[in-house]
């Protein structure tokens, strides 16, 4: 009884122990925050990985791809209707992307997709920018570039198709979503009419205007193309990232970031004051979707500043390979001009800064992955052929069309790991059947077999987790490593508990003698200090868990507060991280585990002191006052 009683009494009577409680509290808080943020990060990474891949991936990791995918997909849908929601072929190859307007060329991963099927297989659609705000306008068909213009009532607007699409979005969007999309279009400041630039100025921002922008959230870049002109009472300022308006209101000027009130970056007519209405320009070209980081700069707000206008022409170059992996004879890079219709953000920088999405059929065609009849005649035979239209086409069985990947979305009923693995194994079995049947059908065409046997044998069926195992594994390892590091740092708390308890035992030697003189055993006295240590762990751990949980819940608000105090205090920079917000969920089992560890660590810290207390010899302890 006395153990419990004395340890509770000492807990709130000995002030020094508050330091030990505080240390335990801080360490528990620290470890809990680290585990929660890292764990949340890991979950986000997993979600994103799954979101961009679908559930199962059938792929050949080669550039020449594998055949029989059409029969395979048809068979999958026929044989597994209860498990498979959608399956879509994807071609992945490499190339370069050139932005002719500024002469920039980047290496890219070219992804050929069927847009509608991909929408059903993974979260691709959620990452699209223009498709969100102008629903139904993103497609790979031939199209022109839209440009802004003044409507009859003096508003700056897009062509009617796009305006209608935007109104469709607005009708369904929540006020928060609309506010988010318009966040760059608020009134920035008012300037006195005297500061108004007197004349059109190109190349530099008028000094008066620049002064007015100083110390504001929004800073005008130094060297941009600026055109300021007067039109009635409206002043327009144009710079690299869009259109800005300056409105005169009495003797005040109101400066708006953008005159066009919808999201996105669009072409403007030559003169901002042109009386022409909005419209479409340029020759029709197929569409391309770019990874967002390819065509935009990430801002601290988590938004993007796009430097490629919607519909702007880009040039994509790819290399066709023959089924055996060699260069197609007589070809090198093949270039196709495309129009940038949208950009997609998966949230994984490596993907968003590298990927270009084009139509599956178009890519299949240009990289020669469509079906063809092999031509094995040698040069002499070809030389004896008549020229031109009379030339005979090679005949016989064709090499089937190829793809490099088939992405499969499973039905929501396939929800456990076991079910996913079972589905994977069935898919694998179906592939083996389809491919062997396909090869058997071509038994009599050795020149075709020779070209596809290799590619067929390289196909793997994986779950999204297996496919992303290395990436997820790296983040997982990082989580464990950081947790271990912080746990090691927390050992400091054990030492602090040890030191403080040692001091208490030193101070309390006489009291320990008294307790022993009335019959307490050595073990019992040790028990007082061990339960005292446990009590420190229980109290400190409880406070730490509570504070840590609250901290994690409000971690983004805390960061906002820090930014408000000093902008450089931004720890989670959306410019750097794939996610806008810091993960803010606490896993209860983590919290309980840390709590128990804190109690055990506190008991461990009290061990030496308890042992010393148990060794106190009452006669010695009681001899003097």
């Amino acid at each position: 009884m006395y153990k419990l009683f004395l340890c509770l009494r000492y807990l709130y009577k000995r002030r020094i122990v508050f330091f030990a409680v505080g240390a335990v509290c801080l360490c528990v808080m620290m470890v809990l925050i680290v585990i929660s943020v890292m764990g949340g990060f890991l979950n986000m990474v997993k979600d994103r990985s799954r979101g961009m891949l679908g559930d199962l991936i059938v792929e050949s990791t080669t550039l020449q791809g594998f055949p029989f995918y059409e029969e395979f997909i048809a068979r999958l849908k026929a044989e597994m209707p209860d498990e498979i929601h959608e399956a879509t072929p994807v071609i992945i190859t490499f190339g370069t992307l050139r932005f002719p307007r500024n002469g920039m060329t980047k290496p890219v991963q070219v992804v050929g997709i069927d847009l509608e099927e991909t929408y059903r297989v993974n979260d691709f659609k959620e990452g699209l920018f223009y498709e969100k705000y102008y629903p139904g306008t993103t497609h790979f068909e031939r199209q022109q570039e839209p440009y802004l213009g003044l409507t009859k009532d003096g508003q700056i607007a897009l062509p009617p198709e796009l305006e209608a699409a935007r109104r469709r979005w607005e009708a369904n969007a929540s006020p928060q979503e609309i506010a988010d999309a318009w966040r760059d279009q608020r009134l920035l400041l008012e300037v006195e009419a005297d500061d108004l630039p007197k004349e059109l100025n190109r190349g530099r921002i008028p000094a008066g205007l620049k002064r007015a922008f100083e110390n504001r959230l929004f800073q005008l870049p130094d060297k941009v193309e600026v055109a300021v002109a007067k039109k009635g009472k409206k002043w327009l300022l144009r710079h690299a990232y869009g259109v800005n308006t300056i409105q005169r209101d009495g003797d005040k000027l109101k400066v708006y970031y953008s005159a066009y009130t919808g999201p996105g970056y669009f072409a403007e007519p030559e003169s901002p004051l042109s009386r022409e209405g909005p419209g479409w320009q340029g020759r029709p070209l197929p569409g391309v979707i770019l990874g967002t980081d390819l065509c935009a700069e990430r801002l601290r707000t988590g938004g993007y500043a796009r430097y490629c206008r919607r519909g702007e022409m880009v040039a994509l170059a790819v290399i066709p390979f023959n089924p055996k992996g060699g260069f197609q004879e007589g070809t090198g890079f093949l270039t196709m001009p495309l129009r940038y219709v949208d950009d997609c953000r998966t949230g994984v920088y490596d993907i968003d800064s590298m990927s270009v999405y084009v139509s599956f059929e178009q890519l299949q065609d240009i990289v020669n992955m469509t079906a063809f009849v092999p031509d094995d005649r040698d040069l002499d035979e070809l030389a004896s052929e008549p020229e031109g239209a009379a030339a005979t086409r090679p005949s016989g069985p064709a090499v089937p069309a190829r793809t490099t990947q088939v992405q499969i979305k499973l039905k929501p009923t396939v929800d456990t790991r076991d079910k996913v693995m079972a589905a994977r194994n069935r898919v694998q079995a179906i592939w083996e059947r389809v491919s062997s049947e396909g090869l058997a059908a071509l038994r009599d065409a050795p020149n075709v077999l020779d070209r596809i046997e290799g590619p067929v044998s390289w196909v793997k069926v994986q779950t999204w987790e297996e496919k992303q195992a290395r990436y997820i594994g790296a983040v997982e390892k990082e989580k464990y490593l950081v947790t271990i590091l912080f746990a090691v740092i927390s050992v400091v708390a054990v030492f602090l508990v040890g030191v403080i308890f040692y001091m208490i035992v030193q101070q309390k030697t006489r009291d320990i003698g008294i307790i022993k003189s009335v019959g307490a055993t050595s073990l019992g006295v040790a028990g007082i200090f061990l339960s005292y240590g446990a009590a420190v762990g229980v109290v400190g751990g409880a406070f730490g868990t509570a504070l840590g949980t609250v901290f994690v819940w409000y971690i983004n608000e805390i960061q906002d507060l820090l930014i408000w105090i000093s902008p450089s205090a931004q720890v989670w920079n959306p410019e750097v991280y794939a996610f806008d917000r810091i993960p803010s969920e606490v896993n209860p089992s983590d919290a309980i585990g840390i709590y128990i560890a804190a109690i055990l660590a506190s008991v461990a810290g009290a061990l030496i002191a308890a042992w010393k207390a148990s060794k106190v010899w009452p006669v010695e302890a009681l001899r003097y006052e």
Binding site: M1, Y2, F5, I515, G519, S522, V619
Partner: protein, 238 residues
């Protein structure tokens, strides 16, 4: 069974002071009758406190035995000695030795808490608390139950210490210079408490260097140089 409650035979005890071994007790034998009030006298360093500690199982002799009602108190190991100290012997020290964090009542209850597990404490706590309160009331500390030791005078503290020593109704009360730290009047007060306890049948062994204090006892045992020098009946023996 005879009326002998405590019997010490041939007790030897030495302390190691650096390299020198200091022989404190050199064969002390002492017999204590039930209900007796014995004073152990001697000069400073004569070993009288050591003898008291050995009688109360607070310390272990180098040689010799102490028998409580015929049983060797050092035979059962440290657990047995802990139990004896808790229930059979009650100690009162010169410097009171109260726990500063505990109230008067809690200090008094300390031996009861040590002697009971959590569950038996919770089932018996009302009885034990009433018993301790009665003891403290008897010591004239009724108004002081919730006070802390540092709020009490020396005499009051010593009375709390006596109440604590008696909490588990010990068979023998061992007092080490109980008046040594008190002024004469307060000392007399404490002595009268001890005497009245003795009159109710409490066996008491008291260590003192003050002949006036010793005079309250039935019997005085003088220790000189680690041996018993003489025994004499107190003049006012009943």
């Amino acid at each position: 069974m005879s009326d002998v409650i405590l019997q010490a035979t041939g007790l030897h005890k030495s302390y190691q002071l650096g390299k020198v071994s200091l022989k404190v007790l050199k064969g002390v034998s002492l017999t204590l009758q039930r209900g007796e009030f014995v004073a152990i006298m001697g000069a400073s360093g004569s070993g009288k406190s050591t003898l008291l500690h050995l009688l109360g199982a607070l310390d272990i002799p180098d040689a010799g035995t102490v028998r409580f009602e015929g049983r060797d108190i050092f035979a059962g190991g440290s657990r047995a000695r802990d139990r004896l100290r808790n229930a059979t012997f009650g100690f009162v020290f010169q410097f009171y030795h109260l726990l500063p964090e505990l109230t008067v009542l809690e200090n008094t209850l300390l031996p009861c808490m040590v002697g009971n597990s959590v569950w038996s404490w919770f089932s018996r706590r009302h009885a034990l608390r009433r018993q301790a309160t009665e003891m403290l009331e008897r010591m004239g500390l009724k108004e002081r139950l919730r006070h802390r030791p540092n709020e009490l005078s020396g005499g009051e503290r010593q009375r709390v210490a006596i109440a604590r020593a008696l909490a588990n109704r010990p068979r023998v009360l061992l007092a080490d210079e109980p008046t040594g730290n008190l002024d004469a009047a307060t000392g007399r007060e404490i002595l009268s408490v001890l005497k009245s306890l003795n009159e109710e049948g409490q066996t008491i062994v008291m260590v003192t260097h003050d002949p006036l204090v010793a005079a309250s006892a039935h019997r005085i045992v003088s220790l000189v140089d680690g041996r018993i020098a003489a025994r004499q009946e107190a003049p006012k023996a009943p």
